[in-house]
Amino acid sequence: MRLENKVAIISGGSRGMGAVEAELFVQQGAKVLVGDVRDDEGRALVEKIGADAVYAHLDVTSEDDWAAAVKKATDRYGKLDILVNNAGVSARGTIEETSVEDWDRVMGINAKGVFLGTRAAIPEMRKAGGGSIVNISSQLGLVGMAESSPQYQSSKGAVRIFTKSAAIQYAPEGIRVNSVHPGPIVTPMTEARRSDLAMQQVMVSRIPLGRYGESEDVAYGVLYLASDESSFVTGGELVIDGGWTAQ
């Protein structure tokens, strides 16, 4: 198994890509702490997965929640090897339509959340002798799209370069940090956009492989980066977008 004896934290793990990653990680031998603000869904998920998963309430903008989640994972499973900063929110609108509150909320969850998670996890990874951090950015952290929003795109761009900053700082301690850049994926987060059929058609027309991605498509990329198979990969950006940005 590819994650045997590894301990992982996955933020935003109650549903969507995070939930699929949690199940896949456990199948591959890891112990997983699922963190989320959706407590009912998160508890139901870990109950379904079994003894190798535990839930913690985790608002990624809260330093206290991060400290508690890291403590819970290490108390229960003895160490921490992997962090997937998966929690995120979407937003749509022009720059003129965007309020300061909108900006701060999205930047807080999508960008500051990654910083806080990384900062909380590093000391435990150091104790474990190394680790792997996978930050979920977006293809919209690489290229512009009219139907997105300034705060979403900025937050995902921030995740991209934060990843490289963290990678160079912690490489000497054997902690690898990479970003993943999904295109449009079938998840609860993209439900509103997908329910607009005209919009859905526009999105699919931009994807060379001709379909939305599934959470599983992203989860396997995260698995590769989390596992020792990628032990020579850090500071990288893995694009999983059906070919969108290659055009």
């Binding site: 492989l209 990969v233 055009q247």
Partner: protein, 272 residues
Amino acid sequence: MVERPPRLEGKVAIVTGAGSSGEGVGNGKAASILFSREGAKVLLVDFQEDRARETLQIIQEEGGVASTLQGDMTKLDDCERMAQTAIERYGRVDILDNNVGISQRGTVVEISEDDWDRVMTVNMKTIMLASKATIPHMIASGGGGAIVNISSIAGLRAHSSTPYSASKAGVIGLTFSMAADHATDNIRVNAIAPGLVYTPMVAPRMNDDLRQFRSEAAPLKSEGTGWDVGYAALFLVSDEARWITGICLPVDAGLTAVHPGTYTPMNQQTRF
């Protein structure tokens, strides 16, 4: 625990440059062995077939299914014979790992026209020819396919190897375009850009000091191997990457993610 099937179960793979040019394990040899371990049948193609036989021996000792073929990938006839052979021996073809490549140093002032043409032919045209011959069979096999092209960080950065860099940058452009051209056939095309990995290809011009220097040039300060590149290829050609096409994945210990300060001194000394 759910027992998962091997990651390339039922697949047939062609690896070009499947042998290594010296002792040890290069990118093509590592990919061939890993593809086999994950259940693929592998056609091991090399200009020097005896090199491919060494890879075959390892695969057979592990109980895998593979065979060798002599082929010059700079010749379309050989590429077509290669694709035909895969069909004849294994019934289909799903995966093509374009791994053939040579080093070529020098500035544009120093390089001879013949050497320039040779490196562009071996490193880039071989990918076009092998893909040209194989893609129709992938389509005919049903289900599409996956192609992985071995580029280099030299295609992304100055590398004291100008002709080599140009050819490897060409591989990245070729990858993006092939990905777009063949997406509707469900053929995925991706590139890997290995960093300063220690392989039989670079070994002849290495000494202990230079090896040490290269190992420490990237943030992770570890020496990469053909296996690191092989695992990336395994991921990209498997169905786990079924929604990934048109990317270039550096496997470089962080070298291209950071300020080039650790890297340029070597350029100035042309130490590669």
